[in-house]
Symmetry: C2
């Protein structure tokens, strides 16, 4: 009696990614009430800087409570405001915030911005705008497990994986892009574009200029779109050391090509952003599409009727983001805290004999546990993941749930728990690897 | 380069419904700054009781500003809260509110409720759950112009109109339902259900028990779904007079059939609700699906990821709705004010020689201007609509934009303007009809 979509489980809730969450919910760690419970390290939440947001809120409580604008109640206006063009004050504050946070290298303007209830809706709306059912987008693997739901489920769009490998630090190459394109053609799929996350979820790395140019050249050659999901752009906590790449938005790269607008590439580049990660407010549901293409902006604006942001929340965030002094301090301090946490995780893992991909952004590390597996297979990865979940008591995400083509990699989040809990998690890991390394049965594989 | 959806204009923005809005925006009435401007009477907004909401907000400002729960800041919890199951406190408050507002005739429970960012998203999600592209839903005409966008655009679902007529006050009959079903079959469409609005937008009437039973019997016979959009259920301002019908939810009627669950009808009845009209807060984007079907609830909950309600707004409304004393007084007073307004509009129109369909709910009247047209045609309706927009300076909605099958009917909203503005609108109408009636050229048609 129901639709194929309602019956079909293409939203991916039954992957191990969600299985781990369910196990965690049955037995969540608590320092006093449940000290042996499962520690949640599968959740890309930024909980490190709420004290700063709460401080701002206390200083502005009167405005926020009574929804006052210039001392007069704006309640009536806000309660009624459901224009899909969004609150001009919020859009203005957002583009100024983005321009500032991204080092004034590109000037963002509000006419290219469409507000949506979170990046989840933004990504789906872009698929509805750019592709018809049966068309496809190329995604570099490993990728965020939620994309199977967000991009495919209701739109009927397909994902063609582009396999990245540890041999070059999971970087995007022109060869891998061409291979994915070939695969799509063999599957008889009309490839409409490439979707990347920059900084990458789950890698925690920023894309290099070389990668971005490969991507752009590929899109020019094939006459396809680029969607760049940049929801972690202000989490970049390390951009000055010689081995790390500062964050470069796709919008900057395409701007450089502006005078030489090959194949109208400018109109085929679209960006997704959100405040969920950078500001740590996923519950407020503020996402957006930013596009140079007027038709995409027009169609996406109309589609945003299905995913409007609460006007009350638009008001709160327009006030908060226009406080340039506050947001700058917040971002600086937040990045400092993220870096400290990430280093704590890397040290803890190293101490347990585990390495990570070198990263400089995001709320997670991409962790190499290939040497802890019984064999080089996804069965062994699943087995190891299950042991870490049930025996060690850590919920982390297996690479296979991110469609990684190499078994043995895991995403571990570090910003959703306290420092004490992180330390405990690392002690547990050390005890676990000690037991493995000392076990006569263990064959050290791929060290 | 873009999708068919982005290129195609099936969202209906170019109908006269939207054309009127655009004209209004160019020349909006203001009592001092633009006294000859266009008065907006095409907007189904409830602006009559903001003083009551503002009063509540002032009394609860501290809780709301600092997002305090039991005196402790809930900011952190709320900022992170993005569970698609919704804030339990809001769902609990909502079902209690609905149970109370609907006279305790059916007990609503939170396990059957899915929160969405407005009824727009709720209706689309139900279509995604119940029908595949190319499947169809029957809609009684006249219907809300936005449904062409909400139900069809992204889902690929078709609408089969079921023509209601002034001869029986636009009531739903079994014959008309059967005719629409036949039409669907002739068009080779798989009819998956019937969608009604109760109270009706644009009629402003509640469905009678007889209509509801016809609808239910039809759905039982054909083995199809019913979607009942009840977003105006608490606007019913007249339910006691002998000529009006009190509001009866589809959920009450189906409950009576519970012991005799023919053809599993219970699992095929779904309701849409929202706070946009009853509470006058469309900007806050709080809608919902209420369904007896567990699979629909499960699929819709997952789909609500694309349309989550801001946690800040969930918190505000869970506090407001749990104040049972306040909400009861609010609804009583709001209904009293709506009734007064509606009577003012009816009197003003009668004074201008214009009649209305007898109504008892909603924020609008369904107005009969057939006698003011040059001929019994949609061209004449459009001509009259344009004159009222441009010469009289009133933006009202033509019946044709609501897919009414009889020319000459118009929807006029009464709750989005002040009493003075309403009186002025009526003066303008009277002057207009006087000029028509006194004109030698005018042929009185269909009086």
């Amino acid at each position: 009696m129901l639709s194929r979509k309602a019956n079909k489980d293409s939203h991916g809730q039954d992957s191990s990614y969600f299985e781990g969450w369910q196990e965690y919910e049955k037995n969540p760690y608590h320092p006093i009430q449940n000290p042996t419970g499962i520690i949640q390290m599968g959740l890309a939440e930024n909980q490190l800087s709420f004290d700063l947001l709460e401080y701002w809120l206390r200083r502005n409580s009167n405005t926020m409570a009574l929804l006052k604008k210039d001392g007069v109640s704006a309640f009536r206006e806000l309660a009624l405001f459901q224009d899909y063009h969004g609150l001009p004050a919020l859009k203005d504050a957002l583009v100024k915030f983005m321009t500032r946070m991204r080092g004034n290298k590109t000037k963002y303007t509000s006419d290219k911005l469409v507000l949506t209830a979170g990046a989840t809706a933004a990504n789906e709306i872009l698929m509805f705008c750019l592709a018809d059912p049966g068309h496809a987008f190329i995604l570099p693997t490993p990728y965020y497990p939620g994309f199977d739901r967000d991009l495919k489920w209701r739109t009927g769009v397909e994902i063609v994986p582009m396999h990245c490998s540890s041999s070059n630090g999971f970087r995007i190459t022109r060869e891998a892009l061409e291979e994915a394109y070939q695969l799509g053609q063999e599957l008889n799929l009309n490839i409409k574009g490439v979707l990347v996350t920059n900084p990458s979820n789950p890698l925690g790395t920023t894309m290099t200029k070389t990668e971005l140019i490969h991507l752009l050249d590929f899109a020019i050659d094939k006459n396809i779109h680029i969607v760049s999901d940049e929801i972690y752009s202000a989490t970049v906590f390390d951009s000055s050391s010689p081995t790390t790449t500062p964050f470069i938005s796709i919008m900057e790269v395409v701007k450089e090509r502006n005078n030489n607008n090959l194949n109208n590439i400018r109109e085929r580049v679209h960006m997704v952003y959100s405040l969920s990660k950078d500001l740590g407010v996923p519950g407020f549901r503020v996402g957006m599409i930013y596009s140079n293409n007027e038709m995409v902006v027009a169609a996406a604006t109309k589609m945003s009727s299905f995913a409007l942001v609460s006007s009350q929340t638009q008001f709160l965030l327009s006030n908060l983001l226009s406080d340039a002094k506050f947001t700058e301090k917040y971002m600086e301090e937040n990045q400092r805290r993220l870096k400290r946490r990430k280093e704590m995780l890397v040290r803890g893992l190293r101490n347990a004999g585990i390495g990570c991909l070198r990263s400089n952004a995001g709320l997670f590390c991409w962790v190499d546990m290939r040497h802890l597996m019984r064999s080089d297979s996804f069965e062994a990865e699943k087995e190891l993941w299950k042991r870490i979940l049930c025996e060690v008591g850590l919920n982390i995400s297996a690479g296979s749930s991110c469609h990684c083509s190499q078994p043995g990699w895991f995403r571990i989040c570090f910003a959703n728990i306290s420092e004490d809990t992180l330390q405990l998690a690392m002690q547990r890991m050390k005890a676990f690897t000690n037991s493995i390394f000392s076990s006569a049965n263990h064959i050290i594989y791929n060290m």
